[in-house]
Subunit: 306 residues, 4 copies
């Protein structure tokens, strides 16, 4: 089971505040993780990736994300530690990986990039091998050829891209991104059903075009919980003592939103749980929209809850 984290803010944040300095950062989570479902492989030491957009993109650097990945564990990657001290960004995706499928190579590290888009995944498509060929057959040629690795996550991103009108566009409406993610989940479920796969898929996906963020917490089961996912919003993410951070909320303004597999701070009140089978949208203006994912699993889930 992996860990993911994402940040979108009005102001760029130094990556170190998200990645390396918090005592419970995604990197420290990678070796002390108490909220996991899967306890068989207890460490997220199988690779790392972080992607970000430039705060002041100009014509030369364009607004494509920059991605840094590594097959060595995040916690002793000196390049990462040094870069995180220097780089600032208003939109960051980060991911630590515990391999469930696919060998540990840089091509299998999240986040994946296509043009302006970044995508990452925490979970797994159940028995992916049994639907892989169906998925491949569906893809447009250039999306098929874009895939470099061998994981269910990268192929799921390809499926997502396939649902976009123009994956090479310069800008996307967040409604289109949200619809494509819902279609991706729905399509994976449909193929699983056709293949007679009953094992549930864990589909915590996140995608961004540099402006909006769309993020799902989803399990294809009407009884199980999806991997944990939290969010926090406020005006400032500040350190009050080394390693300890809190989200400051002044004037009800929301200047930043953080979504993470596990809370980054020790202040419980800072974090809201995203319910299982929910899709979260962060709009370009930093509104947070939550809506349930309407499918058979979720309907039965609601009934079970009643």
């Amino acid at each position: 089971m992996c860990r993911l984290l994402l940040y979108k803010g009005k102001q760029p944040i130094q990556l170190a505040h998200l990645l390396t300095k918090p005592a419970h950062s995604i990197i420290n989570q990678s070796f002390d993780s108490r909220l996991r479902i899967d306890r068989r492989r207890p460490i997220n030491g199988d690779g790392f990736g972080v992607g970000w957009y430039e705060p002041d993109a100009d014509s030369e650097t364009a607004n494509t994300p920059c991605i840094f990945t590594s097959v060595t564990p995040a916690w002793n990657n000196n390049n990462l530690i040094r870069l995180a001290e220097k780089i600032k960004s208003p939109l960051v995706f980060a991911h630590v990986r515990a391999s469930t499928a696919g060998t540990v190579t840089e091509t299998n590290c999240h986040p994946f990039q296509y043009g302006r888009l970044m995508f990452m995944h925490n979970g797994g498509v159940a028995q992916f091998d049994r639907i892989k060929r169906r998925l491949i057959a569906t893809l447009k040629e250039d999306i098929f050829l874009f895939v470099q690795g061998s994981t269910d996550s990268e192929w799921s991103f390809a499926l997502f891209l396939n649902f976009l009108k123009n994956p090479d566009a310069d800008t996307f409406d967040y409604v289109e991104l949200k619809e494509a993610m819902l279609k991706t989940i729905s399509q994976l479920n449909e193929w699983a059903e056709e293949a007679g796969i009953t094992e549930p898929s864990l589909l915590n996906f996140a995608v961004t075009d540099g402006e909006s963020v769309v993020c799902a917490r989803y399990v294809s089961s009407d009884t199980l919980e999806a991997p944990s996912l939290y969010f926090s919003s406020g005006t400032k993410f500040e350190s009050y003592e080394p390693g300890h951070y809190r989200m400051v909320k002044a004037d009800r303004r929301e200047d930043m939103v953080v979504v993470a597999s596990e809370p980054l701070t020790f202040e419980k009140a800072d974090w809201l749980t995203i319910p299982t089978n929910t899709i979260l949208v962060i709009t370009p203006k930093l509104s947070v929209l939550l809506s349930p994912i309407k499918d058979n699993n979720n309907m039965r889930r609601q009934e079970n809850a009643n």
Copy 2:
């Protein structure tokens, strides 16, 4: 353009005699290579792999090959240098890579392994992207799922496996291996023709099951030469001064055969050129059989030569 080397002998050879000690070994070839066709990327520094069979396989270690790969250049891989001093084997495949397609990851390093079989490739399938989907559609399910990387070489191996009656068998007839390789080349040509690809493919393939070796020097053109390929046979491969080796031929016996992209010794007489569009077989008893690859390209080639 890559470099390959293979050894089959009655006696196991210490890997260092093939890989690290000869002044003109495959590793030294990787940074001083005078016989290349492709001068655009002059160094084979994009990964390395060596595979070998145990001299005395027992039930516990079985007779599957052991494979060591690396994405760092062979010439400064300390593990390789140390292992090569210790490991002995009667059948060795080695490969240094200069990436033409596919990113540099361990999953893209040759030789590739499937059960008892090892496979490596020096060259490239022209415009592979245009026939990739056709190839994938042809494959049996488990062979399709076996592929971990993204290169034309690994997919060519999958196509080869697809032509075998039972790729999971314990032993193979060398005739079957040879036929499967001829079919692989022929099939790739057929798809290229259908797709209107006129750029020639360079298909120097080698495969072994631990007993026989089959090796092609092939280009899908009636005028061009395939990447160079030489062989040498004799009773002993010995060093007469540090870094300098020669093939000793006593009593006309053939106790070992070496095939390589470039001669390993400085003795010209030690090496015979394998003609373009020729398939070479080393039988379990160390006979060397050369036969032309009969296809349209080769026929026109013969005519051109007359």
Copy 3:
């Protein structure tokens, strides 16, 4: 805190039985380790090394050990997993590292080698920086120049070598190895005292020349325990179900001895604790000799115990 394991047997053992197959092997220990003292960095994911001697060394391969190290975690190193299935040895040292000092580079990976000797260390020399210069000043020139890395462990090995009559010898008496290790510990203590260092050093050292093994469990404190260390001996180390091993003891013969930071099997009766501040010797004929390390710390320890 690191983990170490060593095996010496009459028969060579396949490395996989020690390293990769046991559910509680040193590699699995590296991510689920319940017996640690130091819980600050809970994972041994900062590098790995294994060294072994050939079962049938001849003039060509000599009887120097072969060493394989890696800066990526042991548990996803495909080369290691493949080599462990093939390599057999009668004398194996293995080490997983959680860095306490020194950056994560291959030069800092244990075991360290000098000629026929291998050395590894589990623990740390307290405030090593304060005695490093003293140590360096003591060393003979070629031993000084031999050190490639920056860790207290490698410099401790250098100090050990400095106490040998001839570190380049072909064979060593185990008494000399034991004496050199006692002098190493004693010298480190003396320098610590001179420098006013009161923090205790954890000095679980192991050394071998390919014939004998000498191993210390030591802490320079009269009250604390050294990092755990166990040993087991018997006639066969066998698997009774996948991942589960036991030590079989037939006829009171001792055909193999295993020393490890933590038991490799789930059978408590298989393992004896090596007491703190004890030196263990495995003789070439597989006798196990335990003797207390006589110094001020240990004397006070004994008194405290009474």
Copy 4:
């Protein structure tokens, strides 16, 4: 033999224009290098490093350099390629390494950093082992402990630091940096003489504090040439066709200076040779000062030339 490149400009430059885009960039130099002295190891594939200062350092990121190093060859490092597209800096040091001494580890990659200072070296201290102990004995304690690797280059940097009044200072006068470099060269020569070393040392050193740059082209011989070193200055470094760059000089202004082992452009007129045994200073205001290194070698050199 390594390759180095440095840039200082009024405006930040995108790293890609220096590192990855020019057809004859330091990375392309690393596999096609025609101006080398040492032809034994013809490729600079043994590691890579680039260091840079932020264009708008604030209190949070401070004005220490950020350093990215890699033990894999620069030309296939995807992280480097992606970062170079995004990062802009007014002061860049870059280095590709062909190991002559020291194993290939990240700790041995240039540039080395100490506080605000960066240092890199192209060449080698002749028979460094014979003066290493002398050098170490000279160093202040914290400078001695700062060294992490094993190369003559890093120890030379330590010697340089030892000649500074306060290596931890926030700013340095370029005269002090220049004097410290001259003393470093002179001291290495003195020790070589005492040790009876007659083989010449190649000491192309470069150092910066983020404001000034000091760079030597030096060989301790009165007849040999030091490794090549060129500089170019102008108002704009621009690409006129893909891979082809030129230095534009408008109005005699000097808005940028580039120093490199080999010219980055194909325009001969863009580049001036820095004479052997010369020290070059780039002042904070971008003046370029060249002065001969006055020592016995250089005096004899001048006489020889007359």
